[in-house]
C-alpha cells in the first residue's frame, strides 16, 4: 500500500458545529490573497510583497532578516477607522458572528465557574485592551475574503504525512484554516489569522498486515498520554469504518472525541508560579480546618480562565460517507514551503501571551524552533515509551529470559552463602559453651554478621525478581492470547463534555455571574469615594456580601456561611493569641505543671 493509500484509508471524518464558517482547505488560495510583511526588532513594520504577489515561490525568496525580525503573512490589511465605522453601521456588532450564522450559545461560561476564575477572566479581558490583539473588524473582513476564495467551490483539503519510527507507522493529517474566530464568533479565548490543526493515527505491522492502534487528536497546547485513544475504545472513539470521527470546536478547530460543550480552563503563564502556594493553602484549609480528609481536591489548574468549546457536530461533516469529501495532499517529499518557510501564516500582533498571534507552519513553532509534534510525534503522543504489540512481546520475552538467567545465578550464590553461614553456625555452638573462648566467639559472630549482610539483600532481590518474573510471564501470556488492558489505563485526565445537569443555571445566576465582577469594581470605587476612612473594613464586608450573594444563587448559602464564620473565628483566635500571648503561655505552663504534678503524685501513691 502506498503512503497516499494508507492516508486515504484512515482519513478522519470531521464534524463541525453549526455556525462554523472556516473549513480545512488548501494553502494556495489563501497565500494568493495575502501580503507578506516583516516586523522588525525595532517594532517597525515593513511590507515586502503586496497581495497578489505572494506565491509559494516568492514566499521562499532569500531575505536579509536580522535577529528579532518576524516574517508573517497578512490575510487582512488592517482596516481604517472609516472602514470599521461603515462596517458597524452596516452589520451592527462585529463580534458574536457565530450567532448570525445560526450558532446558539450555551449556558454562560462564567456561570459555570466560581469567583476566582471570574476575577482572572476579568483581568484577562482588561489585558486585551493593552496587549496586541486581532482587531474586531478583521474577523468580518476575513470571513468575506474567505467566502470569496471559496465562491467557486470549497476545496476540503488535508496535508498528510507518513512516518515510520520505532516500529510505529504514523499518519499525520494537517488541516489548514483561513482563520480562527473563536473569540469574536464563539465567546472563546482568542482570534488569529490562519490555523493549523493536526490529527494522528498510529499503526503497526504484524504478519504483513497493518493494524491501527492509537488515535491522537491535537487539542490546544496539550501533549502526552491524555491526548490519545486506543482504536478499540468504542466508548471514546467513534468510527465510520476505518475512519475515526472528530468533533471540531467552533472557531478554535480543536478536535474532540465526543460531541458536546467542553469547559476549557486556560492558564495564564504568569500566574502559574503562585500555584504551589495556592495548593498548600487549599490543602491546609481542606484537611485541617474543614476536616474534609476524604475529599481533598488539589487541582494543578487553579488560576485559570474559563472558556467553552462548542464541539457539537451539528454542522457539516467532511470525510468518508459524508456530505463533503477530502482532497488529500501528500507531504512526501516535504515541499519547500513546509521546510523553508519559518514565518507566521497570519498577522503578528506581538501579543505577549501569544494567543492572538498566527501560528507558524506544521514544522515550526511561532519562534521558528522545530515543533514538538513534528520532530518527535511519538513523544508528543506519549508513545515514545510504548512499544508496538509485536515489539512488546519480543521485549518481554527478552526480559523474561534475562530475569530467569539472573534468578539462576542469584539462587546459586545464595545457596553457596547459606551453606557457608550454616557451617559458621555449626562452629559457633562449641565456642559459645566455653567461657574462655569469648574472643574467638566474637570473631565468629562478626563473620556471621558480615555474611548475613551479604545474603539478605540477595534474598530480597531474588524474591522481588520472582514477582516481576511472574507478572511478566502473565503479561506475555495475555499478549500472546490477544487479551488487552483497559483502553483508558494510560489516561490521567479524561476530557469529557459538560453534562447537561451541570449546565442547569437559571437566568438570574447567569446575569449575576456576568455582572458580579464589574459590580465589585464599582463597589470598590464607591468605597474609595464615600468611605475612605474605612476602606479596609468596607472592602472586606463588600467581598463577604458578594460571596454570600453568589452562594445564594448556587444553592450553597449554608456552606458559604460556615466557611466565612470559621474563617472569622480563626482570625479572632489569632487576635486573642496576639493580645494575650504571654498570659496564654503562662496559663499553658501552669496547666501543664499542675497536670504533671497530679499525674505523677497519683502514680506515686498508687
Amino acid at each position: 500500500m502506498t503512503d497516499l493509500e494508507l492516508l486515504k484509508k484512515y482519513e478522519p471524518v470531521l464534524r463541525f458545529t453549526k455556525g462554523e464558517v472556516y473549513f480545512p482547505t488548501d494553502i494556495e488560495g489563501y497565500i494568493a490573497k495575502c501580503s507578506l510583511w516583516v516586523s522588525h526588532s525595532d517594532k517597525s513594520e515593513e511590507k515586502i510583497l503586496s497581495e497578489g504577489k505572494v506565491t509559494l515561490k516568492t514566499l521562499l525568496a532569500k531575505r536579509n532578516l536580522k535577529q528579532g525580525d518576524v516574517l508573517y503573512l497578512r490575510f487582512v490589511d488592517l482596516p481604517s477607522i472609516e472602514n470599521i465605522t461603515q462596517r458597524i453601521l452596516k452589520e451592527g456588532r462585529l463580534d458574536m458572528r457565530g450567532k448570525k450564522r445560526g450558532w446558539k450559545p450555551g449556558r454562560s461560561r462564567l456561570a459555570r465557574v466560581g469567583y476566582v476564575s471570574r476575577i482572572i477572566d476579568a483581568l484577562f479581558s482588561l489585558t486585551l485592551l493593552a496587549r496586541g490583539k486581532v482587531p474586531g473588524a478583521v474577523a468580518a473582513i476575513a470571513e468575506e475574503k474567505s467566502r470569496k476564495i471559496n465562491k467557486k467551490g470549497q476545496n476540503y483539503s488535508y496535508y498528510g504525512r507518513v512516518f515510520r519510527d520505532s516500529g510505529w507507522i504514523g499518519l499525520q493529517y494537517w488541516f489548514f484554516y483561513h482563520y480562527d474566530d473563536w473569540r469574536t464568533s464563539f465567546e472563546g479565548v482568542n482570534d488569529h489569522e490562519a490555523d493549523w490543526e493536526m490529527i494522528s493515527i498510529y499503526l503497526y505491522e504484524e504478519k504483513k498486515k497493518i493494524i491501527p492502534k492509537w488515535v491522537v487528536f491535537a487539542c490546544h497546547d496539550f501533549i502526552g498520554d491524555d491526548l490519545r485513544r486506543r482504536w478499540d475504545d468504542t466508548e471514546q472513539l467513534e468510527k465510520v469504518g476505518t475512519h475515526p470521527v472528530a468533533y471540531i470546536g467552533a472557531g478554535s478547530h480543536a478536535a474532540y472525541y465526543q460531541p458536546g460543550e467542553y469547559l476549557i480552563e486556560s492558564e495564564l503563564p504568569y500566574l502559574t508560579r503562585a500555584l504551589p502556594i495556592l495548593n498548600k493553602i487549599k490543602y491546609f484549609w481542606q484537611t485541617s480546618v474543614r476536616r474534609n480528609l476524604g475529599n481533598v481536591q488539589i487541582s494543578d489548574k487553579n488560576l485559570t480562565i474559563p472558556f467553552v468549546e462548542y464541539a457539537r457536530g451539528n454542522g457539516i461533516s467532511i470525510g468518508a460517507n459524508q456530505e463533503k469529501k477530502w482532497n488529500p495532499v501528500l507531504l512526501s517529499p516535504a515541499p519547500d514551503w513546509l521546510t523553508k518557510y519559518r514565518g507566521l501564516w497570519g498577522l503578528f500582533t506581538k501579543d505577549p501571551i501569544g494567543g492572538e498571534d498566527a501560528p507558524a507552519g506544521p514544522m515550526y513553532n511561532r519562534d521558528g524552533t522545530p515543533r514538538f509534534s513534528w520532530y518527535d510525534p511519538l513523544g508528543f503522543s506519549g508513545l515514545d515509551k510504548v512499544p508496538t504489540p509485536p515489539l512488546e512481546i519480543k521485549y518481554l520475552e527478552d526480559e523474561i529470559k534475562k530475569l530467569k538467567k539472573k534468578q539462576a545465578f542469584l539462587s546459586k550464590k545464595v545457596k553457596a552463602k547459606t551453606i557457608q553461614l550454616q557451617k559458621l553456625g555449626a562452629s559457633r555452638k562449641p565456642l559459645a559453651s566455653s567461657p574462655i573462648l569469648t574472643k574467638e566467639l566474637r570473631k565468629l559472630d562478626l563473620e556471621i554478621k558480615i555474611l548475613l549482610a551479604e545474603i539478605n539483600p540477595l534474598r530480597r532481590e531474588l524474591s522481588q525478581d520472582q514477582i516481576v518474573l511472574e507478572e511478566a510471564t502473565l503479561r506475555l501470556k495475555k499478549l500472546k492470547k490477544g487479551i488487552e488492558d483497559d483502553p483508558r489505563l494510560h489516561i490521567n485526565t479524561l476530557q469529557k463534555p459538560t453534562a447537561s445537569s451541570q449546565m442547569r443555571f437559571d437566568r438570574l445566576t447567569e446575569i449575576w455571574s456576568a455582572v458580579s465582577i464589574g459590580l465589585l469594581l464599582v463597589g470598590f470605587m464607591l468605597i474609595l469615594i464615600f468611605l475612605p476612612a474605612y476602606t479596609i473594613s468596607a472592602v472586606v464586608i463588600l467581598i463577604i456580601a458578594f460571596l454570600l450573594t453568589e452562594s445564594v444563587f448556587r444553592g450553597k448559602f449554608s456552606e458559604s456561611v460556615r466557611t466565612i464564620a470559621i474563617f472569622l473565628a480563626l482570625v479572632s483566635i489569632a487576635i486573642i493569641i496576639y493580645s494575650f500571648f504571654w498570659s496564654i503561655v503562662i496559663g499553658l505552663l501552669l496547666i501543664g505543671g499542675v497536670y504533671l504534678i497530679y499525674n505523677n503524685v497519683r502514680e506515686a501513691l498508687a
Binding site: R291, A569, I575
Partner: protein
C-alpha cells in the same frame, strides 16, 4: 390520648437527642440575646419616644439630626434580636435553617468584634464566646444532627 402520648414521647426524645454542644451554643446565644435586649432598652431610653411614634420620628430626623444614628442602631439591634430569637428556636427544633441562621449571626458578631478590635475597643469575652459557638456548630456530630433532621423532614 394515644396521639398526645406519642407527641409527648417524640418531644422528650427530641430533647434527649440534642447534642450537648447545641445546648452550650443555645446558652451562649441566650446570654447574647439578653445583652442585646439590654442594649435595645438603653436605646429606647435614650431616644425617649413612644414605640408607635418611632417611624414618624425617624423620618423627621432623617439626615438632619444626630438622633438619626440612634434610630439606625435601634433598627439593627431589633433586627438582631428577632433574628437571634428565631435562630435559637431553630436550633432547639434541630432545623437546618436554625443552624444556618445561628452561624450567620455568629459570623456577623465576629466581624463586629474584629472591627471593634481594629478600632481600639476590643470585646474579648464576646469574641471568645462566638469562637466557641462557631467551633461547636462546626462539629461533625452537630452538623449531622441537623442534616438528619432535615432529611427526615
Amino acid at each position: 390520648m394515644k396521639k398526645k402520648t406519642k407527641v409527648a414521647v417524640e418531644n422528650t426524645t427530641l430533647v434527649k437527642k440534642l447534642p450537648l454542644a447545641i445546648l452550650i451554643v443555645v446558652l451562649i446565644s441566650t446570654l447574647s440575646l439578653v445583652l442585646i435586649a439590654i442594649d435595645l432598652l438603653e436605646l429606647f431610653r435614650h431616644l425617649d419616644v413612644p414605640i408607635s411614634q418611632i417611624p414618624s420620628s425617624f423620618l423627621s430626623t432623617y439626615k438632619s439630626d444626630e438622633k438619626f444614628i440612634y434610630y439606625i442602631q435601634l433598627f439593627l439591634t431589633s433586627g438582631l434580636l428577632v433574628a437571634g430569637v428565631a435562630a435559637t428556636i431553630g436550633l432547639l427544633s434541630l432545623k437546618k435553617w436554625g443552624w444556618t441562621l445561628t452561624m450567620f449571626l455568629v459570623g456577623i458578631g465576629l466581624a463586629i468584634n474584629i472591627l471593634s478590635f481594629s478600632a481600639g475597643q476590643p470585646t474579648f469575652i464576646l469574641m471568645l464566646a462566638r469562637i466557641v459557638q462557631a467551633i461547636l456548630l462546626d462539629q461533625e456530630p452537630v452538623r449531622s444532627a441537623f442534616e438528619e433532621n432535615h432529611d427526615r423532614s
